[in-house]
């Protein structure tokens, strides 16, 4: 793989990187409360993912359309309120699906309105560095990236804390209850970040080696 191919590769993966190796949660530690505390099982993780998609994408579009027409200091107080209004149908939907689920998610479903992930997306969108479509797509990739991490953490914690996945029994007789507590969320996320860094290093090493082989030929 020569320089041109490497550039092409980076251009192709530029947006998708936000989902995997350059995931905003894994790389920058955004939206930590949801991953650390709320993502204790698959149901919670799916609910949080839906809520974040429903909130971030419309708010990013609004932020893009409004741009810098509103002073930034005032805009930072307005967008979370819009996000909070968008979360009302999500809360009603969850309550209708399972009232206990809304209660167990507690404040965390509402906290999405002020999450660092949302605020950073608003910053990107209102700066208008890309076209509307590309900016929206970027928000979507970020949401998918968030969902991947939150669902992964939710599954791991549910398996070891309750011995189930999405409520289905796995036949594990020694559930470790402490895993669903906040401290384990911090520790698990720390290890996930380290593993992702290691994968990124291996990935880059392989790319460089392939590039050298291509140049030798």
């Amino acid at each position: 793989m020569n320089l041109t191919q490497t550039r092409k590769f980076h251009k192709l993966t530029r947006n998708v990187n936000g989902m995997f190796l350059d995931n905003p949660i894994i790389k920058f530690g955004l939206a930590l409360p949801f991953v650390v505390v709320a993502a204790t099982n698959l149901k919670h993780a799916v609910c949080l993912s839906i809520a974040i998609i429903v909130t971030i994408i419309p708010v990013s579009v609004i932020a893009y359309l409004v741009g810098n027409k509103i002073p930034q200091a005032i805009a930072i107080a307005i967008y979370p309120v819009i996000a909070s209004i968008l979360l009302i149908p999500v809360r009603i939907g969850i309550k209708n699906y399972d009232p206990v689920l809304l209660d167990s998610l507690g404040m965390y479903i509402s906290l999405i309105a002020v999450s660092t992930l949302l605020l950073s997306q608003i910053g990107h969108s209102s700066a208008r560095k890309r076209k509307l479509g590309a900016s929206t797509l970027r928000s979507l990739y970020t949401c998918i990236g968030f969902s991947i991490v939150v669902i992964l953490v939710g599954i791991i914690r549910e398996i070891f804390a309750k011995g189930t996945i999405g409520g289905l029994e796995l036949g594990i007789n020694m559930p470790i209850y402490g895993i669903s507590l906040a401290f384990f969320g911090f520790i698990l996320l720390g290890f996930l970040m380290a593993i992702t860094r290691w994968i990124r290093r291996v990935f880059h090493y392989v790319l460089i080696n392939l590039g050298q082989k291509g140049e030798d030929k």
């Binding site: 530690g29 209004i85 998610l105 404040m107 999450s115 660092t116 906040a182 720390g190 970040m193 380290a194």
Partner: protein, 196 residues
């Protein structure tokens, strides 16, 4: 006796139910922000003012809205409106007093007022059914708890920067593991999971 109740409430907010270590509230912002003691002090003072004033205002609002139908769905929006109002008021006070100070603290002000920490404290007050005075006290203690958490993180960051840890663990991963172990220690104080 009532004095002890308030002391217990303050201790709970600072240590036992520290919003950073037990609920990870505002963990994302904090870790980035912490790099010097002066900044921590400025941030904590603003954060404490925001939590205290918002807590008192929301306790008053709660008194009038408790019996409303569907309040459970609109309460978060009402809380956020109150936080936004508090932020805008602080912003304009700062702007009218000193333009130089506003330029200096503009970013810090938005970080300190509109975040999951301030918002989360309001939900904790509502969950524990605190009255107006208790809400105010809890707001102050949450701010002090955040100050303590920030000092601990600053010290941890400095120590870990010179520690011999594997390269892939340097920075945020090892810091999160460190915070996790501290959180585990604090969990021992209350001994049961907190309501979300």
């Amino acid at each position: 006796m009532i004095v002890f109740q308030y002391i217990s409430l303050i201790l709970s907010g600072i240590l036992v139910e520290n919003i950073f270590f037990t609920r990870a509230l505002d963990a994302g912002n904090m870790i980035d922000l912490v790099n010097e003691p002066r900044k921590i002090l400025d941030f904590s003072v603003t954060f404490t003012v925001a939590t205290t004033v918002s807590s008192i205002l929301c306790a008053i609002v709660d008194k009038f809205t408790t019996n409303l139908e569907y309040v459970v769905y609109i309460r978060p929006t009402i809380y956020l409106l109150v936080i936004s109002l508090v932020y805008v008021i602080i912003y304009y006070i700062l702007r009218n007093n000193s333009k130089a100070n506003l330029d200096k603290y503009k970013n810090l002000l938005s970080y300190a007022c509109i975040n999951s920490g301030v918002y989360g404290v309001l939900f904790v007050n509502q969950r524990y059914e605190h009255n107006i005075l208790e809400s105010g006290f809890y707001g102050v203690s949450a701010g002090l708890g955040m100050f303590l958490a920030l000092l601990i993180i600053l010290s941890a960051k400095k120590k870990l920067a010179y520690s011999n840890v594997p390269k892939i663990m340097k920075g945020l991963p090892i810091l999160l593991i460190y915070i996790g172990l501290l959180s585990l220690g604090i969990f021992g104080l209350f001994g049961h999971p907190l309501p979300a």
